[in-house]
């Protein structure tokens, strides 16, 4: 404790430092070049120069950074700056189509939106007019049924995985099966539902319930995965404290574990709904499409938003314009629903989750 630190020798001039400051491009100039490149990119898309030429111009401008760097800073720094350029390019390349998709859907779907669009079905509609009421009703019924089927099964399976037998071989095997189930292509789920329902109702069956079964096949593994993660986050001390007080296992799960993990589970379920609500292929096969409102999932074809958007766009009839416009309207509605569900999931986890931990 008595050691004294040696005083730094103040009289030594700073230029005698053992390391030589290597030459650098000033950071300010780098930012100027990036800004110029960004401006060129935006100009390309806004003016009639064209997106492709704007992109090329921006890239050439930005490429001056590694070139300058090679002249001033040497090969290693230049490589580093070149990779930075590549990474930013990759990001831009990924963002352009995604922005294009969102803006196209909004630009083409928004003009169609009206109260009539949401309140009327396509029954007896030729050409202009009509709406997606029947598709919204069908989507809500089928997705709701799928949720009712999937959540209990998924939740209890997750409880089985986490609470009963963490390390046993059955749990390991079950996890593998869930992984396999996650990879089932959506159209195969639709075919499965069709093959199943044909046994009971005969050839050419189309039914809302079948759509719900197909969606459940896709939804259950998602629910299990997210619920399992959330149940794992519940601290073991809580369970042990409860057992120590003599509370039976099932009451511990019901009253201690589930309430603690509830926000996370609700988030996971919402995201799972968001994932299956946009599924088109299985519903195209088993639920089909119709022009009228059908509220009975056990009887006949049932329109849904994604299938409506698909068939209105691919089989528009004559004249095609109103039908394609309605398809964009349905696509926008679907997109808004999915975004809203994602937002709700975020809000649930932000407001109700206990302190974060990993």
């Amino acid at each position: 404790m008595t050691t004294t630190l040696e005083r730094p020798q103040k009289d030594q001039p700073t230029s005698d430092r053992p390391f030589k400051q290597s030459k650098r491009i000033p950071a300010g100039s780098v930012w100027v070049v990036w800004t110029l490149a960004g401006l060129a990119l935006v100009t390309g898309f806004v003016t009639d120069l064209g997106g492709a030429k704007g992109f090329g111009l921006a890239w050439l401008i930005a490429a001056s950074i590694p070139a300058m760097s090679f002249a001033v800073e040497g090969r290693r720094k230049a490589t580093d700056r070149f990779v930075t350029l590549l990474v930013v390019t990759a990001f831009t390349v990924a963002v352009i189509p995604l922005v294009s998709i969102i803006s196209t859907v909004f630009a083409k779907g928004f003009p169609v939106m009206s109260s009539e669009f949401f309140t009327s079905s396509m029954r007896n509609v030729v050409g202009e007019g009509g709406g997606i009421n029947h598709a919204i009703v069908g989507t809500l019924i089928i997705t709701g049924l799928a949720t009712i089927i999937s959540v209990p099964i998924g939740l209890f399976a997750a409880i089985y995985l986490v609470e009963s037998s963490e390390d046993s071989r059955t749990a390991h095997g079950l996890r593998f099966l869930v992984d396999v189930m996650t990879g089932i292509p959506s159209i195969v789920a639709g075919l499965f539902a069709y093959a199943l329902f044909v046994l009971f109702f005969g050839e050419g069956v189309r039914m809302g319930l079948g759509g719900a079964v197909a969606l459940s096949v896709l939804m259950i593994p998602v629910v299990i995965r997210s619920s399992e993660e959330m149940l794992k986050l519940v601290p073991n001390e809580l369970r042990e404290a409860s057992w120590a007080l003599g509370v039976p296992r099932w009451r511990t799960i019901l009253k201690v574990v589930l309430p603690t993990a509830l926000a996370g589970i609700a988030t996971g379920v919402t995201l799972a709904i968001a994932r299956v609500i946009g599924e088109t292929a299985p519903l195209l096969i088993i639920a089909g499409i119709t022009d009228s409102v059908n509220t009975n999932p056990l009887e006949g074809r049932m329109a849904t938003l994604p299938v409506f958007a698909y068939s209105a766009m691919m089989n528009p009839g004559v004249p095609p314009e109103p039908s394609i416009a309605r398809a964009w309207g349905a696509a926008l509605t679907l997109l808004i629903i999915v975004m809203a569900l994602n937002l709700i999931a975020r809000l649930i986890s932000a407001f109700f989750s206990p302190a974060k931990g990993r």
Binding site: F91, A94, I101, V105, L174, G183, V188, A195, G288, N342
Partner: protein, 306 residues
């Protein structure tokens, strides 16, 4: 421990949990069994009995080729971009930007496939007509671009581009997670030794993330193989086998073919379609299986558990 009281509540609860777990097993078995039962008549049907008028093998072979070809192309386009975007979010972007950008990418992973399909047919395909004509004129000597260039733009390359745009958010999300898990100390050690940021990424981040990137690519491949609507809407298909990317005659994919033909199919043709679905199921199962094996391979199984 032998004095543990067995409460009826526990038994019931455990029973329910086991029942739920069994349901998974039964469902998965049912998917396989039902597809097989309904598919076998389609596989053995003679050419006169089905709409496509060929044996099953001749029917499914071009479809399998189209499925694999489209997915492989999509993956080849998407992988470098997704790795770049993930790196951008995890290591390159300013902190304030990285969070929101990551969130937006997650959001885009949830965009329904029918929206991608609509965009592909209405926006991307018309926009690609010019580039395809240019490719035919200037690079026509390469078999991929032999042409004649499609007048609608609804080609294999367009479909692959749409598929790539679809899987980029998924792959990015997975890669970003893995990049963020790089041990902080490894990164700092590399930087302290004087490495530039790229050298740090190459020496610390990539070796750590290698198996993760491969499995992310495999999962994205599984997704691209099974994707139906985007391909069904974008691709103008005929049952040919060709590597030509920009012509108007393209091989269809299994999933898109089912979606397009199911409505008009009847009798044994339905069974044949279900049989192709079974083939698709087997292919995606194999891909996913290999992906999982890479993630939790023998040397990694223990690390993943803890």
């Amino acid at each position: 421990m032998n004095k543990t009281i067995q409460r009826p509540g526990d038994t019931i609860f455990r029973g329910t949990a086991v029942a739920a777990a069994t349901t998974i097993l039964v469902t998965l078995a049912a998917v396989g069994i039902f597809l097989t039962i309904k598919g076998i008549p389609g596989m053995t049907a003679s050419p006169e009995e089905v709409k496509h008028g060929t044996t099953f093998l001749a029917y499914v072979a071009p479809l399998v080729f189209g499925t694999l070809w489209a997915a492989a192309l999509a993956l080849a386009i998407a992988t470098p971009v997704a790795i770049g975007v993930a790196l951008f979010i995890s290591h390159y972007a300013p902190r304030k930007l990285a969070g929101p950008v990551g969130y937006v990418i997650d959001l885009l992973a949830a965009v329904p496939s029918v929206v991608f399909g609509a965009w592909g047919i209405m926006t991307l395909a018309p926009a690609m007509r010019g580039p395809y004509a240019w490719l035919e004129d200037n690079l026509g000597f390469i078999p991929f671009f032999a042409g004649p260039a499609s007048a609608t733009g609804r080609t294999m390359l367009t479909a692959a581009l749409v598929l790539a745009v679809m899987v980029i958010p998924i792959m990015t999300a997975l890669c970003r997670e893995i990049f963020l898990q790089t041990p902080r100390l490894h990164e700092e050690a590399a930087l302290a030794l004087g490495a530039t940021r790229w050298e740090m990424v190459r020496m610390a981040v990539f070796p750590h993330a290698k198996s993760g990137i491969v499995s992310a690519a495999m999962l994205a491949l599984g997704r691209a193989l099974g994707e139906t609507m985007a391909v069904a809407m974008v691709l103008s298909a005929s049952g040919v086998v060709t590597f030509n990317l920009i012509s108007s005659t393209n091989p269809s994919t299994i999933a898109a073919n089912i979606a397009l033909s199911f409505k008009e199919a009847s009798g044994l043709s339905v069974n044949a379609l279900i049989a192709t679905g079974l083939v698709l199921f087997v292919i995606t199962f194999a891909v996913n299986f290999v992906a999982r094996l890479i993630v939790t391979g023998p040397n990694r199984a223990k690390a993943a558990k803890s």
